[in-house]
């Protein structure tokens, strides 16, 4: 069972087309109140697969958020919509194995800067924390 | 039509009378009293009584057993056999047994698939393995083989013929509409002696469908009995129109039921009118009366439609 404590790690996968700043400069992981938000740029949100986000969770991320261009501005037309569908699919799978689906999230954005990405990550962290339930016997901390 | 089998239904039709058949559903249990109760309700109103075979894939007392109970009570049964639950071996075996028990009329149907069965109200057996070894047209030819050639489908002989008066079902309306007449022709070619149709409410369209089969010469070889269901409410008609394939209910009839001060009475009026109307159509040789789980109302319907007494 997932027991969140200080040291939570959130990965934000963002589409390169929904940010304002130069894509060539990667953003370093930022820590805020014990939550580490790592942002990872995707060439396009449509490339995200359910396997990818689930692997991030299995490898130790407490939460993963996909940030994609709004439906009208997606350059692939249906790319971000497909990404949302896959994210929702991954959430259904988590639900089926009794893992809180709040560990995954999706945001439609355009023209965001690094602070907003970090804020999105922190919001995901709060949602993950709120979704976990204390169970007798505890479990492994990831 | 000369008689080959000697059943009452066959004799009535051969004599040129307007035949009447009615439907009796067996009980969902083993109690013969339940069958006898229905017998009492409908005795004397029809020339033969259809006994359904696990209709809508709901387990009920078998058609053959319930038919035998009817026979013992003095009613002539029309057993029914669907293709869903039995392979050709079981079918032929059951038919030989049915004949030995005195049954002489058999209606051949493909049968409702068990996934859609039970009308959503009962659990049914959606997990059952269905059979559909042969279809209803092939079953007709199997019966004809048992009767006219004393031969099983696989080629072996049977020790003496098992003559049945062979029935088929027909859905005259329903896509592909023009092909429905062709398919009836196949059933006649395969061996059908009489045909009972899906419930008729739309007289003009049914008349058109009958015209096609008359033109094909089919009505000289097979006796067609349109199905007449007694309407009980506007809701029932709306449901049938929307959900029962092949049943078309004209809006005018639905309106009559919904605006009637006494819908039950209006239902009788409509059914009587339908019976009179189909009686005028060339090629129609009788009617098949149905009142879903309300067989006790059929005597009143038969009386009011001028169908009594039976010959």
């Amino acid at each position: 069972m997932h027991v969140p404590t200080r040291g939570m790690k959130i990965v934000v996968l963002y589409c390169q087309h929904c940010v304002t700043y130069g894509k060539e400069s990667p953003i370093a992981p930022r820590e805020h109140d014990g939550v580490v938000v790592q942002t990872v740029m995707m060439p396009c949100s449509s490339k995200v697969q359910a396997s990818e986000v689930l692997k991030l969770l299995a490898a130790g991320a407490d939460g993963v958020e996909i940030v994609a261009c709004s439906d009208e501005s997606c350059r692939l037309l249906v790319g971000s919509r497909m990404a949302e569908k896959r994210l929702q699919y991954a959430q259904r799978l988590l639900n089926e194995v009794h893992v809180p689906k709040e560990r995954l999230g999706f945001s439609w954005k355009s023209g965001v800067g690094p602070e907003e990405l970090e804020a999105i990550g922190l919001r995901r962290a709060s949602a993950v924390e709120a979704s976990t339930v204390e169970a007798p016997g505890g479990g492994e901390k990831t | 039509m000369k008689t080959k089998v000697g059943s009452n239904l066959e004799r009535v039709l051969a004599a040129g009378h307007f035949a009447v058949t009615a439907e009796v559903g067996p009980p969902r249990g083993p109690n013969p009293e339940a069958v006898l109760k229905k017998v009492k309700a409908v005795k004397g109103i029809a020339d033969a009584y259809n006994v359904t075979d696990n209709q809508t894939a709901v387990v009920r007392m078998s058609s053959i057993a319930a038919s035998r109970l009817l026979l013992e009570s003095g009613l002539e049964p029309v057993m029914q056999m669907v293709c869903r639950d039995r392979n050709r071996i079981a079918m032929q075996s059951d038919l030989l047994g049915a004949w030995a028990l005195g049954l002489r009329n058999c209606l051949c149907l493909s049968g409702d698939h068990q996934v859609a069965g039970a009308g959503g109200k009962l659990k049914g057996h959606p997990g059952a393995k269905n059979v559909y070894d042969v279809d209803s047209v092939q079953l007709l030819s199997i019966l004809r083989g048992l009767r006219d050639e004393a031969r099983q489908e696989g080629g072996d002989a049977i020790d003496c013929p098992a003559p049945f008066f062979i029935g088929a079902a027909w859905t005259p309306l329903g896509p592909p509409e023009k092909f429905r007449a062709v398919r009836l022709g196949k059933k006649v070619a395969a061996g059908a002696d009489f045909v009972q149709t899906q419930a008729v409410f739309d007289i003009p369209r049914f008349t058109e469908a009958m015209r096609r089969v008359v033109d094909m010469g089919l009505t000289e070889r097979v006796a067609i009995l349109p199905g007449i269901i007694l309407p009980r409410s506007a809701g029932m008609l709306r449901y049938m129109n929307a959900s029962v394939p092949g049943v078309r209910v004209p809006e005018a009839l639905i309106q009559r039921m919904s605006s009637a001060s006494d819908p039950k009475e209006e239902g009788f009026k409509i059914a009587v009118e339908l019976i009179h109307a189909v009686r005028q159509i060339p090629g129609v040789k009788g009617v098949h009366l149905q009142a879903i789980e309300a067989e006790h109302l059929l005597p009143q319907l038969a009386e009011r439609a001028g169908l009594l007494p039976r010959p």
Binding site: Q49, L93 | C83, H113, P176, P245
Partner: protein, 223 residues
């Protein structure tokens, strides 16, 4: 393709209960085409099972491998190095692949991760529909290219039954076209409607699984 879908995850987890290290094996052929057992599905199921078992407080290690075909011995052999230390195999292939693994690794339990249910075509992205029933006596030449064994719920050879809906769909599944309606329409299109007026006799099912499990020997192809 042979069509399979994931078993309910609860069932997969139950099957693997108590195991410590599981080799999850995919197949790049049929089950990949129906998005159930290819590499992508393997890479989705593996972390999901890790998360599931972690949630139960029973950590499990899932190692993965996707074979080109699980029904060919030469590909199955690729697993020989990968099964060390593993206490169970979980296969996402059809029953053929599961049994090939079970035969090659008799000392290990091989569990099925999918239910195989049909032979289908992919109509479009995300939609698969039955096309073949392996009846052993193909009648497609007589039915204008539509198979009534696979696509008619009642396997009628003299259809349609009375269950064709107004819109041409099947009574038992409104997403399905009544295949006999399609057959008649195509016959009309070709001006060959009379051919459907012939009564077709009962089918022989003896060349299908109704005739017993198959074991076919082609001497001309044997070493």
């Amino acid at each position: 393709m042979i069509f399979s879908e994931w078993k309910p995850l609860d069932e997969i987890v139950r099957q693997l209960d108590g195991r410590k290290k599981v080799l999850l094996v995919g197949c790049a052929t049929c089950v990949a085409e129906c998005a159930a057992g290819g590499e992508r599905e393997v890479e989705t199921l593996a972390p999901l099972l890790s998360l599931a078992f972690r949630e139960k407080g029973q950590p499990i290690e899932i190692v993965t491998c996707t074979l080109e075909k699980q029904c060919e011995w030469e590909f199955v052999e690729e697993l020989s190095g990968k099964a060390t230390g593993v206490d169970a195999l979980l296969s996402l292939a059809c029953g053929i692949g599961v049994q090939a693994l079970a035969e090659r690794f008799p000392e290990l339990p091989t569990y099925p991760g999918v239910n195989t249910s049909a032979l289908t075509i992919r109509e479009e992205a995300g939609i698969w529909a039955s096309r073949c029933a392996a009846c052993g006596d193909c009648v497609l030449g007589e039915t204008f290219g539509y198979c009534p064994m696979a696509r008619c719920a009642k396997s009628l050879m003299n259809g349609p039954c009375g269950g064709t809906r107004e819109n041409g769909k099947c009574e038992i599944n409104e997403t399905l076209d009544c295949v006999w309606n399609l057959i008649v329409e195509r016959a009309e299109l070709r001006g060959e409607l009379e051919s459907l007026g012939r009564v077709r006799g009962p089918k022989s099912w003896s060349n299908s699984r109704h005739g017993g499990p198959k074991r076919v020997i082609r001497e001309d192809l044997r070493a």
